[in-house]
C-alpha cells in the first residue's frame, strides 16, 4: 500500500458547525435577527424577522421556506414497490407516477418510527421524505430485496412555497402546469433553462407547493420568486420553523419526536406509540401484503385502545405549555400537552395532547392545569378542553384546482 500524505490544511468549514443550505446566501438577507437553529445540521431560521408576519404570510399571502434539510431518500429497483409496501403501513402499490402520499412506518412491535411523504416520481422511481434520519432502517429493511436506496438530502435543494397567493406567485415566476396540478400531484417545469420538479404538497394545511431543484439552480429559483416581490407585485416572506410549528398544529399534522417519542429513540416500555395511539389507524391496511409491524398491529387492533394523541382545543388565552390534563377539573391525571400554539386565525389555543383511555373509551371532560407567569409571578389556572377529530383549520382553497388567482 502506498503511503498517503496527510492533509494538514484545516477543513474550510471546521468552525462552521451548521451547514449553509444552497439558499443560505439569499436567506441570510431576510434574517436580520439572526435567530438560527439546527435542522438536520443545516443552518435554518427559527424566526426570520417577525413571527406574526411570517405566520400571516402563510395564511394570507405567500411564504417561502427552505426545505433542503429534510431527509430525502431515492428508492429505485425491481423490488422498489415490494420494499416500500413492506416498509409502510399503507398499500402503495396503487400510487401512480406523478403522485404523492403520506406514509408512516413502524418497527416490529408496530410502534411508529417516523412519518413522511412518498413521491412516485416516475415509474418505479420513488423519493421518500422523512422527518428523521432513516437510512439505517431503510437499508436494514431492504435485506434480500433487489432495490437501491440512496440518501439524497444533500443533493437536492427544495423550497416550500405556501399560502393563498402561492399559485399566482409561482405562475408569475414562470412555472408552468400549476393550474392543472391537483393536491398531492407532481409535475415538471422548466424555469430559465433548468428543471424544476413541483409537488402540490406542504405542511401548512393550506394551498402550497414544494419545489425541487439541483442545488446549483437554487439561487436562480429563489431570485425568480423574490424578483416578484422586488417588483412590488406580491408580498412574499421567508419563514422559519416557529411559524411552521403554528400552522402545522392548526392543520393537525403531527411531528414525530415532538408529539410522540419515535420508536427508535424510545428506551422505556410503553413510551413509544402505535399508529392507533396516534390517531393514524386510517393509514394501516391489513389487506395489503405483509409489512413490518403488521402482526403486532393486528394484535393491538383486537385490544381496547390504551391512549390517543388527540387534537385538543384549550379554552382561554393562557398558553397550556406542557400542561397536565385531568379527567374532570381536579380529577384523575390522564395525560399531557405535547405541543401547542396560539392560533391567531382561530383565536384559540390549539394543541396536540397524549391522553389515556379507560377500557378503550376516552375520558369524559378534559381539563388542563395551566401554569403561567404574570410579571414573574407564577399562577395556576384551569381550562376546559375539547377534542377535535378534524384539523382545527381547513380551507377549501387547499383542494381547489385550479386555485384562485390573485
Amino acid at each position: 500500500m502506498s503511503k498517503q500524505a496527510i492533509d494538514l490544511t484545516p477543513q474550510p468549514n471546521f468552525r462552521q458547525v451548521l451547514q449553509p443550505t444552497p439558499f443560505h446566501q439569499r436567506m441570510v438577507e431576510h434574517c436580520p435577527i439572526q435567530n438560527w437553529m439546527s435542522w438536520n445540521g443545516y443552518q435554518t431560521p427559527r424566526v426570520c424577522d417577525q413571527l406574526a408576519s411570517e405566520y400571516f404570510a402563510i395564511r394570507s399571502t405567500c411564504s417561502v421556506m427552505d426545505l433542503t434539510p429534510m431527509e430525502k431518500y431515492r428508492i429505485i429497483g425491481p423490488d422498489a414497490v415490494k420494499f416500500l409496501n413492506r416498509l409502510v403501513t399503507r398499500d402503495i402499490s396503487g400510487l401512480k407516477p406523478g403522485r404523492v402520499t403520506y406514509v408512516i412506518w413502524c418497527n416490529d412491535e408496530g410502534k411508529v418510527l417516523d412519518d413522511g411523504t412518498l413521491f412516485h416520481l416516475e415509474q418505479g422511481d420513488y423519493r421518500l421524505c422523512a422527518q428523521h434520519h432513516q437510512l439505517d432502517w431503510l437499508l436494514l429493511s431492504s435485506l434480500g430485496m433487489d432495490v437501491s436506496i440512496e440518501e439524497e438530502t444533500h443533493n437536492i435543494a427544495a423550497l416550500s412555497v405556501q399560502g393563498p397567493t402561492s399559485f399566482s406567485v409561482l405562475s408569475a415566476a414562470g412555472l408552468q402546469g400549476l393550474d392543472t396540478l391537483k393536491p398531492f400531484g407532481i409535475c415538471q417545469s422548466v424555469l430559465h433553462g433548468f428543471d424544476v420538479t413541483i409537488s402540490r404538497t406542504g405542511f401548512t394545511g393550506d394551498l402550497g407547493y414544494e419545489l425541487w431543484v439541483d442545488p446549483s439552480n437554487g439561487l436562480a429559483l429563489w431570485d425568480a420568486i423574490f424578483m416578484l416581490k422586488d417588483n412590488g407585485l406580491f408580498d412574499i416572506r421567508t419563514i422559519g420553523l416557529s411559524a411552521l410549528e403554528m400552522v402545522r398544529i392548526e392543520a393537525g399534522f403531527i411531528m414525530p419526536g415532538d408529539d410522540f417519542n419515535t420508536a427508535e429513540s424510545t428506551i422505556r416500555a410503553d413510551h413509544d406509540r402505535s399508529p392507533y395511539e396516534l390517531g393514524l389507524g386510517w393509514l394501516v391496511d391489513f389487506d395489503k401484503p405483509y409489512f413490518t409491524g403488521k402482526r403486532a398491529l393486528i394484535h393491538e387492533y383486537s385490544q381496547p385502545i390504551a391512549r390517543r394523541l388527540v387534537k385538543l382545543q384549550v379554552e382561554g388565552n393562557k398558553p397550556p405549555a406542557d400542561s397536565f390534563l385531568y379527567d374532570g377539573k381536579g380529577g384523575r391525571r390522564i395525560g399531557t400537552i405535547k405541543s401547542h400554539s396560539w392560533s391567531p386565525i382561530l383565536k384559540t389555543n390549539v394543541c396536540m395532547a397524549d391522553i389515556e383511555y379507560r377500557n378503550g373509551l376516552p375520558p369524559g371532560e378534559i381539563w388542563a392545569e395551566i401554569y403561567y407567569q404574570k410579571e414573574l409571578e407564577w399562577r395556576a389556572t384551569w381550562a376546559k378542553c375539547s377534542v377535535s377529530e378534524k384539523p382545527f383549520w381547513v380551507h377549501p382553497r387547499r383542494l381547489a384546482t385550479p386555485p384562485q388567482a390573485f
Binding site: N107, D108, L143, G144, T292
Partner: protein, 520 residues
C-alpha cells in the same frame, strides 16, 4: 385426540427425524423431505472413496437424550449401546493421558492433578446438571410467560439454589460467564490435561479457551455427559441414522430423499406448504424446518413476510463454521507412539496445551487456518469394519480452526490445509503419510454446500451465551414456533442447539403438540 394435521418436515437430519417420529406417533400425517440422497444429515454415512465409507460429520455419539432413545425405541430399532469412548490426549513423546468421564490416568500426571480432575469433573457435571430443566423444555419467554415457562424457571431456580446448594451455586455463578482458560489454570497443573479439556469448550465454536463464556459452552457439552457417556454405537455411527430412519418409518412417517425444498409457501402470515426445487408443490397444515435459521427465514421463506428487524437479527446470527472434516482411507491402523492398539478405538486429541488451542484460534480471528490445528481423531472402522475393505481403515478427523471465511478462499488453500493436518498427525504417528490411500476434505464451505447449513456451522450457529436458551436462534423464534403461523423450527438452530442429542426435535414436537391441543 385432537385433529390430525398434515405436517411437512423440511430436512431429514436427526432432529427432523426425531420430531417427525413424535408427531407421527401422536397421530399426525408426517412427510419428511430431505435434499440429500440419504437421511440423518450430519450423522449419515456415505462413501468418500471407492470402498471407504464414513459418517459425514458426527463421529462420536456423546449426548443423545435417553428420553429420545427410550421414546423412539431406538435400541430395538438397531441402536445398540456400544463401547464407551474415552479421550486420549496425545503427546509427541508418547506420554499420553487417558481422560474418562470421572477419572484421568497417565504416566506424566501428578497425584494432585488426578484428584483435581476428579473434583473438577464432579463439580462441573453438577453445575451442568442444574441446567437440566432448561434443556428438556422450551426456553421460557421472559415477557408474557405461560404457566410452563413459569414452571421451567421455577425448576431452574430451585436447581440452582437447592440442587447445587449455596456454595456450589455461588461458584457456578462465578464461573458461568468467564473463560475456561482461567478456570482450568486455577485447578489443574498439567498443560496436556488442560489443553484437552479446553478443546471440549471450544470445539465447533468461534472461540478460544480465553474467550469469555467458554465455561458455559463447556457446561453445555458436559450436560450431555450427565446422561450418556461418549460412545460409538455397536456397528458404528451409521446405526444412529438407520435407527432413527427405522423408528420414523415404524411410526408411520413418510420419508422422501432427494427432495430439496426451494421455498416454504406463506400466505397471509400462515405457512401453507412447500415448493420443491423440481417445482412440485406440497400442501400442509404445519411446516417444520430442520434447517438453520438463516436458511429458513432468509432463503426458504420470503423475508418480506417477516418484520424487518426480525430479518436483520436472523441475518446477524453468528454462524460461520470453524471446523473442517477430513477423512483418510488407510491401508492399515496408524501406529501412534506409545499408544497400544486398543487406544485407537477412542477419541484421540491433538491439543497439547491451552496456549496451543488459543494460538490455533488466533488464526481464525484473522481469516486464516491454524498453523497448528487442533485435531479430534477417531477411527470408525474399528467399531464398524464394514466401512473399509478388509485390513484397511478409515480415519475421521475434525480439524479446527478452519474458518469458513478464509481470507484467500478455500479453493486455493485446500491442499495446504490438508498437508498441515497430515503433518500434524505425522508428529504423533510416524509413517502415517505412507498409509494414506485416499482422502477427503470437507471445509465449512463444503459442509455448507453439501449439508445445506449456512456457514457450514455444525451447530447451526454459535452456541455462545447470546445465542443460547431464550435467545436461540433469536428471541421471537426461541420457543420453536416462529412469527409465521404454522411454521416451526426443530433443528440445532433451536434450543438447546447442536450435537446429536435429538432434543431440539423432541422439544419442537412437544411444543407443536401442546399448541395443537390449544388449536394454535
Amino acid at each position: 385426540m385432537t385433529k390430525s394435521f398434515k405436517v411437512i418436515i423440511v430436512g431429514g437430519g436427526h432432529n427432523g427425524l426425531v420430531c417427525a417420529t413424535y408427531l407421527a406417533a401422536a397421530g399426525h400425517q408426517v412427510q419428511v423431505l430431505e435434499a440429500r440422497d440419504s437421511l440423518g444429515g450430519g450423522a449419515a454415512t456415505s462413501e468418500f472413496a471407492k470402498g471407504y465409507r464414513v459418517s459425514g460429520l458426527a463421529h462420536i455419539l456423546h449426548s443423545l437424550s435417553p428420553k429420545v432413545r427410550k421414546d423412539l425405541k431406538l435400541d430395538t430399532a438397531g441402536l445398540e449401546p456400544g463401547t464407551a469412548v474415552e479421550t486420549i490426549a496425545l503427546d509427541t513423546a508418547g506420554q499420553h493421558i487417558r481422560i474418562g468421564s470421572t477419572e484421568v490416568s497417565g504416566d506424566g500426571l501428578s497425584a494432585e492433578d488426578i484428584n483435581a480432575y476428579r473434583q473438577f469433573k464432579a463439580d462441573f457435571t453438577h453445575y451442568a446438571g442444574a441446567l437440566q430443566p432448561l434443556i428438556m423444555n422450551k426456553p421460557p419467554r421472559l415477557k408474557g410467560m405461560d404457566s410452563k415457562d413459569k414452571t421451567t424457571l421455577a425448576k431452574l431456580g430451585w436447581q440452582l439454589r437447592f440442587g447445587l446448594g449455596k456454595k456450589s451455586m455461588r461458584e457456578f455463578l462465578r464461573v458461568g460467564g468467564i473463560n475456561i482458560y482461567d478456570v482450568l489454570d486455577e485447578v489443574i497443573d498439567s498443560p496436556q490435561l488442560k489443553g484437552a479439556i479446553a478443546v471440549d469448550a471450544v470445539l465447533g465454536q468461534h472461540m478460544g479457551p480465553r474467550t469469555p463464556n467458554s465455561v458455559l459452552t463447556y457446561l453445555h457439552r458436559l450436560w450431555g455427559e450427565t446422561h450418556s457417556q461418549a460412545s460409538l454405537p455397536a456397528g458404528g455411527m451409521g446405526q444412529v441414522a438407520s435407527a432413527l430412519e427405522r423408528a420414523a418409518t415404524d411410526a408411520g412417517v413418510s420419508l422422501r430423499t432427494s427432495a430439496a425444498v426451494a421455498r416454504i409457501t406463506v400466505s397471509d402470515g400462515l405457512a401453507k406448504g412447500v415448493e420443491l426445487r423440481s417445482g412440485e408443490c406440497l400442501e400442509a397444515d404445519i411446516v417444520v424446518s430442520n434447517a438453520d435459521a438463516k436458511t429458513t427465514f432468509l432463503d426458504l421463506v420470503d423475508s418480506a413476510e417477516l418484520d424487518a428487524m426480525f430479518v436483520h437479527r436472523v441475518n446477524s446470527i453468528r454462524s460461520l463454521g470453524n471446523v473442517a472434516k477430513l477423512h483418510f482411507a488407510l491401508n492399515g491402523l496408524p501406529k501412534i507412539n506409545g499408544l497400544l492398539q486398543e487406544g485407537l478405538g477412542h477419541r484421540l486429541l491433538i491439543a497439547p496445551n491451552m496456549r496451543y488451542v488459543e494460538h490455533a484460534f488466533n488464526h481464525a480471528k484473522y481469516g486464516e487456518f491454524s498453523e497448528n490445528p487442533v485435531l479430534e481423531i477417531t477411527i470408525p472402522s474399528i467399531a464398524d469394519p464394514s466401512l473399509a475393505p478388509a485390513g484397511h481403515h478409515v480415519m475421521s478427523v475434525s480439524a479446527t480452526f478452519a474458518p469458513y471465511g478464509l481470507k484467500q478462499g478455500w479453493d486455493k488453500q485446500r491442499e495446504a490445509f490438508t498437508q498441515r493436518v497430515i503433518h500434524c498427525i505425522e508428529q504423533y504417528a510416524p509413517g502415517f503419510v505412507e498409509q494414506i490411500v485416499a482422502q477427503e476434505l470437507l471445509t465449512p464451505v463444503d459442509i455448507e454446500a453439501q449439508y445445506h447449513v449456512t456457514g457450514g456451522h455444525w451447530h447451526h450457529g454459535e452456541m455462545a451465551i447470546d445465542q443460547l436458551f431464550m435467545m436461540r436462534p433469536i428471541h421471537g423464534a426461541a420457543q420453536y414456533d416462529t412469527p409465521i403461523n404454522g411454521l416451526f423450527l426443530c433443528g440445532a438452530a433451536a434450543h438447546p442447539g447442536g450435537g446429536l442429542t435429538g432434543i431440539p426435535g423432541h422439544n419442537a414436537a412437544q411444543r407443536i403438540l401442546a399448541m395443537a391441543k390449544e388449536g394454535f
